[in-house]
Symmetry: C2
Subunit: 354 residues, 2 copies
DNA sequence: CATTAGCACTCATGGTATATGAGTGCTAAC
DNA sequence: GTTAGCACTCATATACCATGAGTGCTAATG
């Protein structure tokens, strides 16, 4: 006699087994394989009955009558939210990752995030991305102006953590060395410690006090900052290991699918916007196939973990790959990396030594 | 009666026609197609005779007996060096490119080169790369040190043109603000205008004069520069549009070939080293298939044009794609872009306004 | 004597028919 | 409730053949 929960339990075990096998073989899974894989000594016939139920319930489907079963998006969803238990990385692996990050965090932010996404891409064997904050989200420590030729200035903003932005500004009227020095001094005195969002309004307010003796300085400063802030993006998007996406068997069968994904990645307001929104929610987020809400990329998924600084979410790191991916390992990796990045943020603030 | 040169001429015309057709169709070219394409009213039979000669001579080959002909590496080589006449971009197109560059050259160097290779990649429909100089190859205009936390310094080097390098340096003993200022002042006074290659030896020489009152400064400066110069690469390698390489029919047939190419691109000392060497020679250089000298990438080619500053070659820009590529257009594009980049170098130096 | 029409020949490609077998659902026995 | 047995389905593989694009050779042509 079986209890209801035994019943449930077995359905779950079988769904889990199907998914895990499918993820590695990439071809529909039959009842016999599962029968052998599960140690419960159930005959293929029994498995078939349960698989039929799972299909009824919308967790599995058959490509055609005489084929094995393949998980549906709903199947993956249920697996991920209810079945899949967290995976811990081996002490050995997590040690290696920690050391690698240790080395990387000596770089400045851009190089760091670049290498971090490269690292996650290699670990997961998929494409990996990072959404990172820019100086716009911090208060700036220092502003440097370096004249380059007669009509150009390099403006370097050094923010909190290891964030740096450098932008060229073309000025219509040439500046001599003293003027540049004066502008730089003014900018630092006036703006350091102030959130970048308030910079322009603060300077504009000063500009209204027309008889300010610094009118000229303010005006030039304002122009420079307008250019710099317009050029600097809201956040940086790094993505590495894109060509891993061609390696999946499903991509080989139809390379056009990869192309479509690439098209979405190029546009900043579709996939990236979705990722940005998912960041707002707490915790790791998995988007599977249709859940991306974009037509043409139903065969892809991503796993995304936010990283934090002072509790607040400041960015995210994730893996992008075929829907048929090893979510267990991918989530473990992504979360672990996100945690390491969070640690880096703290370390950067402390300015500590290794 | 035909003269010998008529004879030669016709062979050349046919080789050229075969290559041009093959490049667009990607399938072996038969005699009838050529007969119709050439306006000389030669029958397919005659064409066949000449094609047989061309095969004899090693310029063409047949995949199998009953197929048309395909150019060999030698065929391409002869076509490129002796047959192919230079192509001029249309005034309209070259105008567009000029305007686009105009906009880009307002960026600082890294962003500029990045966008330039992106541009060439889109124009050519292939992958495009840039080898760009770094601050190591210029004299530095200014050196900035910004303390970040207690144990870290951001060191920004602003070189000639729009070259910028910023690197984090971890210092074991904390520096207070005054010390940082002193070091920065010392560095600027001592090193600006001096080629970076001489920096370390110059400082080391000073260090030997032990009773120098600035001993402490020199020592700290030396350490900082050692880290910065070790971190800064000799040159930057940008490559964009890699996924275009999957689009070629030959790549679809065997995606493994693309993988092999990627492997070579990852290693800095094989393909990139070859490109670096090719830069040393004057003028545009084309490497076809086996000429790359690397096994596994016989189906790929690149076209590379150096760009100059004050006559000297300071970098290069190129296109990487399947051996079966439109060399005529690719070379025209690459050379044109190289010229535009050379102009940018001059413009940057002048520091001029748009 | 270069050119070309004619023709037999080759061989990759594509289509059709058939065989195979993995996997299924159902039924009846355990 | 489980499962052995079995008929059934259908994608895939294999064999076979027809097609036709393209060839090289030969002999006729101007």
């Amino acid at each position: 006699m079986m209890t209801v929960s035994d019943f449930e339990q077995r359905r779950n075990d079988i769904l889990e087994a199907v998914i895990e096998v499918y993820v590695t073989t990439a071809s529909p899974v039959g009842s016999e394989l599962i029968s052998r894989k599960l140690r419960e000594n159930l005959s293929p016939a029994t498995i078939r009955n349960i698989m039929a139920e799972l299909e009824e319930a919308g967790f599995l489907e058959q490509p055609h009558t005489s084929a094995g079963r393949v998980p549906t998006d709903r199947g993956y969803r249920y697996y991920i939210t209810s079945l899949m238990e967290a995976m811990r990385l081996s002490a050995e692996e997590s040690g290696r990752l920690g050391e690698a990050i240790q080395v990387l965090q000596q770089l400045e932010a851009e190089a760091y995030f670049h290498r971090v996404s490269d690292m996650l891409s290699k670990l997961s064997g998929q494409a990996a991305f990072v959404i990172a904050p820019t100086v716009k989200h911090t208060t700036v420590r220092q502003i440097e102006l370096v004249p380059v030729g007669t009509h150009r200035l390099l403006c370097v903003l050094v923010g909190q953590e290891a964030l740096v932005a450098s932008h060229m500004v073309e000025v219509h009227e040439p500046l001599n060395r003293d003027e540049v020095g004066a502008v730089a001094h003014f900018l630092n005195a006036e703006l350091v410690g102030l959130p970048t969002q308030e910079w322009l309004s603060s300077l504009e307010r000063r500009l209204l006090a027309v008889n300010d003796s610094l009118y000229y300085l303010v005006k030039r400063s304002l122009y420079i900052l307008q250019v710099v802030l317009a050029t600097e993006p809201e956040e940086r998007f790094f993505i590495e290991g894109l060509f891993n996406l061609f390696a999946a068997p499903e991509a080989r069968r139809d390379p056009h699918k990869v192309q479509q994904l690439f098209d979405y990645l190029d546009a900043p307001d579709l996939l990236r916007e979705l990722i940005r929104q998912d960041l707002a929610r707490e915790g790791t987020r998995v988007r599977i196939g249709q859940e991306l809400g974009l037509s043409g990329v139903e065969d892809w998924s991503y796993v995304l973990s936010p990283f934090r600084h002072h509790q607040a979410v400041v960015g995210g790191i994730g893996v992008l790959g075929p829907k048929r991916m090893d979510y267990r390992r991918t989530r473990a990796l992504t979360e672990h990396m996100a945690q390491l990045v969070s640690l880096t943020m703290a370390r950067w603030e402390a300015g500590a030594e290794a």
